[in-house]
Amino acid sequence: MQDAFVRAAERWPRDGAPANPGAWIVTTARNAAIDRIRRERTLARKTELLARAEELPADQEATIPDERLELIFACCHPALAPEAQVALTLSLVGGLETPEIAHAFLVPESTLAQRLVRAKRKIRDAGIPLRVPAEHLLPERLRLVLATIYLVFNAGYGPPVRRELCGEAIRLAAVLATLMPDEAEVHGLHALLLLQDARRDARVSPTGELVLLGDQDRGLWDADEITQGRRALERALSLRLSGPYQLQAAIASLHFEAPTDWAQIALLYGRLAELSPSPVVELNRAVAVTMADGPEQGLQIVDGLTGLERYHLWHSTRAELLNRLGRSEEAKAAYSRALGLAPSETERTFLLGRLEAARDQ
C-alpha cells in the first residue's frame, strides 16, 4: 500500500503540481453473491474443527459470535507458521475453498491442502486453545490477527489483483470490528482496507496499466466505501489510542481530499515512523515532504535512507526527485536501476515509460 504513495510522486507534470495523489487498486469487480453460502460453509467447517477439539462447548448456537472470535485467534496463533495462519483463516473463517486459496496465493492446490491439514492437526495435537487470549496476551495476539488480515488484503491488492481476497479481508475486518468494538486498531485496519479498496475501479486502465492517482477518474472511486472507511476511522479515533493502522487510514483518507494536505500527511508519516519505523515509511514521508516543501528536502531524506538498495521504489523515487532537480543523468541511471529491480510487468512498463520520458528531456 505504501508503494502507491511513493509512486504518486513519480509523476510530476512539467506544468505544475500533481493533481490528487493516492493509492490505486485494480480489479475486475465481481459481486460475490456467495456470502450466504460461505457463511454456511464456514459454520459447517467450524463445527467440524470444534468437534475435534477437546473443549467443545455443548450448545453452540448460543455462543456462535464468541466462537467466531475464538476461531480467528486460533487460526492466527503464533505456534502456526504465518502461511498456515493465512490459509487457515481464509479457509475456516472466510469459508474459501482450498482451490480458491491456492490460486490466490499461487501455490499448487496439493501444497495448500497439506498446509491446512498440518495446521489443523497442530491445533489439535499441540493443544492450541480455541479461545480469545488472556488479557495480557491480547495485544500481541491481536497484532497477529490484524497482520494476517492485512496480508490477505495485500495479496489481493497486487498487482495482479485478486478481488475476492480484498473483499474477504474487508469482511474479516468487519467481523472483527463487531466482535471487538473497543479495539481502536481493529477499526483502524477496517478503515484502511475500505479506503484503499475505494479506489479499486480507478486503479488500472483497460489495457492493464497502472493509473497514477493524479490521472485517476475520481468518478470511479467508490464514494460509499470512502464514507464507510471514514466512519470506521472516526470510531477508531474516538477510542483515543493511536496505532499504525489508524495512521495509515488517516493518510489514505487525506488522499481523497483536493487539494491534498501534504504537510499533514508528512506529519502523519512522521508519527507512523515513530510507532513502526521502517525505511519504507520514511520513503513515503520523503514523498510527502517533497510535495509540501520541495524536492531538495525530499531528496535529503531519501538519500539518508539505508538498506533499500534492492528496492525498486527507492530508486524510482530518487529518479523522480533528481529529474525534478534537473540532474537528468543521475535520474536516468536511477530509473534504470529501478527497472532492473521491478517485481512485476505492470511496474516495469510504468518505469520504462518514465525512463523514456526522462530520456526525451
Binding site: 496463533h77 493443544g127 492450541i128 486453545p129 488472556a134 496476551l137
Partner: protein, 121 residues
Amino acid sequence: MQYLLLINDDEAHWGEMPEDERNAIYGEYMQYTQELQSSGVLVGANQLQPGSTATVVSIEGGKTITTDGPFAETKEVLGGYYLIDVGTLDEALEWAAKIPSARYGHIEVRPVVMREAEVAS
C-alpha cells in the same frame, strides 16, 4: 495435556558467566520450580549434566555404535527439562517464557502423546 519444556542453552555462555550471576540464576530456577509446584502443574523436572557427559548410541547394520556425544552439533545444548500438566498450549507457553534460560537460549515446548482416548482424526 502434558507438555515437555526442553531447555536449550549455550554452555559456553554459562561457563563465561561470573559465579554470582550464575548463582542468581540458580536462585531464579529454584523459585520457578517452586511456583510450578504450588500451581500443581509440575509433573517432573531435571537439570542435565553438560553435553560433554553425553554418549550417543545407535544401531547400524545390526551393530551397536557408541560415540562421544552430544548428538546435535549445535551451539545450544539440551540442559534440562520440565514436564508440566496444563490445559492448553498457551499456558505451557507462558510457563516456558518464565524459565530463566529463555533469556539466554530457547525453550522448545512439545506436547506429550497421551495414550488415553483422544478425539479421532
